[in-house]
């Protein structure tokens, strides 16, 4: 168990280094000169451009830029946003709780709807209830978030006036208001997660229900409830946990469109605006933070497997 943990942790560092090199290299492939963007309507003045390039080290070889950045990053300094001059580390710490709250709420909604629906539709396979649940799931997967988001704003904010149309209030400032501002985006994101989880839970449950140990359990005379909940579901959950952590990581990496629609100042909005403004330090910082989150989550997923399925503990 500890050896496994150490091995996994050992893989984290090379992963992060590779990610950092990739981000740096990919940015160079992006068309659009950051100095031109920063110069704005002054872009025609070569003196202004030269000054910007010198200040941001853009006139230096790529390797120097990378080494300078990674050296500072190792000391915990991710640099400044070129556009608004705030430290990138500060920006990330400011956005992370927002995105975390949104992701957690969406995830809870997704799991609460997706897993039970998946189990039920497997148990009631090919019966009307299964068809209805599948139809809803298909609808959930295929509805674009921005459309659902705008429809919800028009209904609940403009027509009914129940919820604020957009914006965000931190949980610790005003919990009620915070829930009001995040419930619509969380629901929009949650429906997507629920649909994916439902489809996979159903498939995994169908697989588990056809296994020998389930037949054995039934033959022992166990009630159907116990068979489904204790024997089939537990085994079916392993792929679902993997998928769940990936989905959660995806939510944390920023729900770009949804954050944009609801003006939620989270990770997604941060990175999209940074890309469009060619604000490289912010892009680098956010991608690194996201990579770290993904690596951590997959580690958690591995630990969860062991908790759910004791057979894996010896590995």
């Amino acid at each position: 168990m500890w050896g496994f943990l150490l091995r996994r942790l050992g893989q984290v560092i090379p992963t992060l280094i590779i990610v950092s090199i990739l981000v740096f290299a990919l940015q160079q492939l992006m068309p659009g000169d950051p100095a031109l963007i920063l110069a704005g309507e002054e872009r025609g003045d070569p003196e202004v451009l030269a000054q910007i390039r010198a200040e941001l080290m853009l006139d230096q070889p790529l390797v120097n830029q990378y080494l300078h950045w990674i050296w500072r990053a190792l000391q915990g300094d991710l640099g400044f946003s070129w556009r608004i001059r705030l430290p990138v580390g500060e920006l990330i710490l400011e956005k992370l709780p927002v995105t975390f709250q949104l992701a957690a709420m969406s995830f809870v909604i997704g799991v609460a709807i997706g897993v039970p629906c998946g189990v039920l539709s497997a148990v009631w396979r090919d019966r009307p209830a299964d068809w209805v649940i599948n139809a809803i799931a298909l609808f959930g997967i295929s509805t674009p978030n921005f459309w659902l988001g705008i429809m919800m704003i028009l209904l609940f904010s403009v027509q009914l006036g129940w919820l604020p149309p957009s914006g965000y209030v931190p949980l610790w400032e005003d919990p009620l208001m915070s829930l009001q501002t995040t419930i619509m985006p969380a629901f929009v994101l949650g429906t997507g997660v629920a649909s994916v989880l439902m489809r996979h839970t159903r498939a995994a449950m169908l697989g588990a229900l056809s296994q020998d140990y389930v037949r054995t359990a039934r033959a022992k005379g166990l009630g159907e409830r116990v068979v489904v909940a204790k024997h089939a579901l537990r085994n079916a959950l392993i792929p679902v946990v993997t998928l769940g952590t990936i989905e959660f990581g995806r939510l944390l990496a920023g729900a770009v469109l949804t954050e944009q629609i609801f003006s939620i100042p989270g990770f997604g909005k941060l990175v999209v605006d940074a890309v469009f403004n060619r604000d490289y330090p912010v892009v680098q910082g956010v991608v690194m933070a996201t990579a770290l989150i993904f690596v951590t989550l997959s580690l958690i997923a591995d630990l969860l497997y062991m908790a759910i399925n004791p057979r894996l503990r010896t590995a």
Binding site: D33, L36, L38, E41, Q51, R83, L176, F262, L270
Partner: protein, 502 residues
Amino acid sequence: MISRLLLAACATLGLTIAAAHAQNLRIGLREDPDILDPTLARTFVGRIVFASLCDKLFDINERLEIVPQLATGYTWEDPRTLLVTLREGVRFHDGEAMDAEAVRYSLDRHQNMQGSFRRGEINTIEAIEVVDPLKIRIRLRAPSAPFLSQLTDRAGMIVSPKAAEAGGRNFGTRPVCAGPFRFVERVAQDRIVVERFPEYWNAAAMHLNRVTYQIITDSTVRLANLQSGALEMVQTIDPDDVPAVRRNSRLRVSVSDELGYQSITFNIGNGARAQTPIGQNARIREAFELAIDRAALNQVVYEGMYTPTAQPVPPANPFHVAGFRPEPRNVERARALLREAGVTTPLRVEMTIPNNPDLRQAGEVIQAMVREAGFDLRLNTMEFASSLQAATRGDFEAYLLAWSGRVDPDGNSWTFIHSRGPQNDGRYSNTEVDRLLDAARTEPDAGKRRELYGQIWQIALRQDRHRIYLWHRKNIVAHTERLQGYVNVPDGIIRLQGMRLQ
């Protein structure tokens, strides 16, 4: 638990009611401003926030006249020497006095600070001299007609020298100026909050206590916030949303002509891609222009709200040349011109378009119009930053680009038309036009200056056809009917003076 929830609900309700009575204004902006340092700032939305924080030496009014703000007046001692008198008893937000020394400091900072974006606007300044605490003399290298208008924007904003020294390059994270409001907080990509500065020199004109600039990039959502009462005002709404707002009795729409324009730049001399029939032959560009019906284009894409034009200076500007109008569409003549030019039709032309829904639609309408005259227009939609780089490098044939506009006509013409103009992406060059542009720059008499611009348009646009001006946009501001006293100035800046909530 339930009682606690009820309590919270009551508290929220109470706050909402209190907010309705307090003079707290929430304004929706369409993008997040960049740094709030007048020397380093570049974005248009940033100027809207500066209007609350930083007063300028001069301002402009709704008729685009220059009026004093921190200054009380000016005299030209000779064509190169400007004497500015300052308002007495003005204080910065940190309590420091705003005097001639502070003005000298700020102008010097705009001119010399590393990374300053104001340098190009005021680089005609040769020397600044403090005459006495309320008088400052600015000597220019050469006479300059647009100079005074530069002091009505960020180059005329005066910062507290003490705070600027202390803040250094990070001054913009906590700006200290002499405007009607002082900085409270900024949450990147979410909001900027300012509160009333009680010692403002013109405090009698200020009725609002607190202003929150809320950043909402999606135009539908921005409007939904206004409709549901979560905002009192939005910076801009789309022309197709105007009818819906007009139908709502609780909302008001205010429209004014913007200072800028939308145009098509042709690549005439910037690299290999200028070597196309349309880049080398003014007759072909004339045919292209004659095939476009600006009024129909405006009707289809912008509900007829914008102003069709043939020149860079909008009608609201005193330097607009009234007689210089768009030519009516003439497809027959366009076809004849293409025959005369001896090109085989359909003639293939590529136009680069920044990736906005409305510009894409405009491109498609133009495509359909010029097809009738014998052009095969290919649209190359590009993300904005990439399109700018392509234009600078000369990697385009035609480029549909907007300019936000300046009060002085020089700011809408010289940089784009002069052969040494830094934003002359198509590298148009005509020595006579250069001479006239330079002359217009130094001509003090407004009437003569307008005549010079008339001559420039005649050569550069009717003869050389280096560019096609299409329309002037409008500032469309929407607000709740409770908001009184808003004046829509063509520069699109929201001035808070005189505004109050009923």
